[in-house]
């Protein structure tokens, strides 16, 4: 079976870098969220890790964008392009993801609607995390208490929203039987032609037509 390249090496690197940072950020954040794991936060070690990971979380994407402005821009456009086709996905999704017939799902583009939704959430919560986090870090002690209170609250809301969506992403990307090639595509960068045809039909058509 032939393979199709889904993700370049650099994209894979960035993905897993973000994963690592997010894991550290999320865990150290969780230490402050759940009281029974809060001893891990004692002495401020987790705060140090959170801040270092935050720098990485912001730094690599910024560098990536500077080195790959065009592809980053394409990716961003993808996340923010929504039309009536997406409604089709929405209608078919319940049956599809619960193991119903594959044919009932309309052809998807490079990223299916669900994946685009995740991209959106990731981007928005990421930005929210960074802005609120930046203010909490660099303006601690100087910004008005009311502002810092709001930042904490919003940071937490983003954590809840992003966190729940992340669970969906991990479940579908790593464990869902229908998304069999998803993990492989983010480790080797490749997926089989059959998979791509069935899961991202629209994209396959466009790319092969260009050829």
């Amino acid at each position: 079976m032939q393979d199709v390249e889904r993700f370049r090496k650099r994209a894979i690197f960035q993905h897993w870098w973000i994963v690592a940072c997010s894991l550290l950020l999320g865990l150290t954040g969780l230490f402050l969220f759940l009281s029974w794991v809060s001893p891990a936060a004692w002495w401020g070690w987790s705060r140090l890790v959170h801040r270092i990971a935050a720098v990485g979380f912001v730094g690599i994407p910024v560098i990536y964008f500077l080195l790959n402005p065009k592809s980053t821009w394409e990716w961003l456009k993808e996340a923010f392009t929504w039309n009536t086709d997406d409604l089709g996905w929405l209608q078919a999704a319940p049956s599809y993801y619960f193991g119903g017939p594959e044919e009932d799902m309309p052809p998807q583009d490079r990223s299916n609607t669900g994946q685009k939704l995740w991209m959106l959430v990731a981007i928005v919560t990421g930005v929210v995390f960074v802005i609120t986090g930046f203010i909490m870090w660099f303006f601690k002690g100087s910004a008005a208490p009311g502002v810092l209170q709001a930042m904490v609250l919003i940071h937490d809301i983003a954590f809840i929203a992003g966190g729940t969506m992340l669970l969906v992403h991990i479940a579908l990307a790593a464990f869902h039987p229908r998304m069999s090639e998803a993990m492989r595509s983010m480790t080797t960068g490749k997926a089989t032609v059959d998979y791509v045809k069935s899961h991202h039909g629209k994209w396959y058509e466009r790319v092969t037509a260009e050829k």
Binding site: W43, K140, H176
Partner: protein, 267 residues
């Protein structure tokens, strides 16, 4: 209300600042480098090294000039916003109602600093400050430097030469203070009041004032911030619920999908 309290009688305070020095002495806190900025008051603000200070205010003018002194330190609230938002439990309620702080558990998040309605706790905020932790008056209950559990009054109370500070059962102090407030009113201090009796559930540091709290630089109606309540009592529980529901839902989804797709393949 039960528990212990500290009573500060502003009408007896002469702003000698023995309390300020006793606090530093007992809690082994460093002196700050200060300059005279045009007042006897120093340092200018509380900090991780200054947990208690006296503020000086000149009010009125020739003939009715008053020089008022206000104690500034943790109010030891019954409904303490800092305890509410502290993620690690470094800030906690003692059985006697005082709010203590175990620095060893502090994560340096700074939420206590941001949510306290009296703006009391401090944290080292320098950019390079990596392990900066919060600090505030613990009424001398800091682990390892605990006076109260060893039968002693807080250092500030012990040192005060005029008796402006007292430490006793809260209900006794409230009763005595209210009597003093009535005496003050009787001799013409119509705005005399007992500050802290019912604020934020009742504070364990009470002030006898002969004028309004505002004149003494105190916040007249402090409250636990709405953001703290929203955060801890609404959003966090909702968050648990959301994650729980989604998590369960995903589990269900994966199991069902596996069953149906695998059985299909077997077919």
């Amino acid at each position: 209300m039960s528990g212990k309290a500290i009573l500060y009688d502003a009408t007896k305070c002469t702003a000698c600042r023995a309390c300020q020095v006793a606090c530093k002495n007992w809690n082994e806190l460093e002196a700050e480098k200060t300059v005279n900025w045009g007042s006897y008051e120093n340092p200018k603000d509380l900090s991780t090294d200054t947990w208690l200070k006296i503020e000086f205010r000149e009010v009125g003018s020739n003939g009715d000039l008053r020089w008022l002194f206000t104690r500034k330190a943790c109010m030891h609230c019954t409904d303490a916003a800092c305890v509410k938002v502290c993620p690690t439990g470094a800030l906690f309620y003692r059985p006697d109602g005082l709010v203590s702080l175990d620095k060893g558990k502090c994560s340096g998040c700074g939420y206590c600093v941001e949510f306290c309605p009296f703006e009391i706790p401090r944290i080292d905020t320098a950019i390079g400050q990596v392990f900066g932790r919060a600090a505030k008056c613990t009424a001398c209950t800091t682990p390892g430097l605990n006076r109260l559990d060893n039968g002693y009054a807080p250092a500030c109370v012990k040192t005060c030469p005029t008796g402006a500070l007292e430490y006793d059962d809260r209900y006794k102090l409230v009763s005595a203070a209210k009597a003093k407030v009535e005496e003050l009113k009787a001799i013409g201090y119509g705005n005399a009041n007992l500050y802290g009796e019912d604020l934020v559930g009742g504070t364990h540091v009470l002030y006898i004032l002969d004028d309004t709290p505002e004149v003494y630089g105190l916040i007249p109606d402090p409250k636990v911030p709405a953001t703290a309540t929203a955060w801890q009592d609404v959003i966090k529980p909702l968050g648990y619920a959301a994650v729980g529901v989604v998590g369960l839902g995903l589990l269900l989804n994966i199991m069902v999908a596996r069953a149906r797709i695998i059985s299909k393949e077997e077919k």
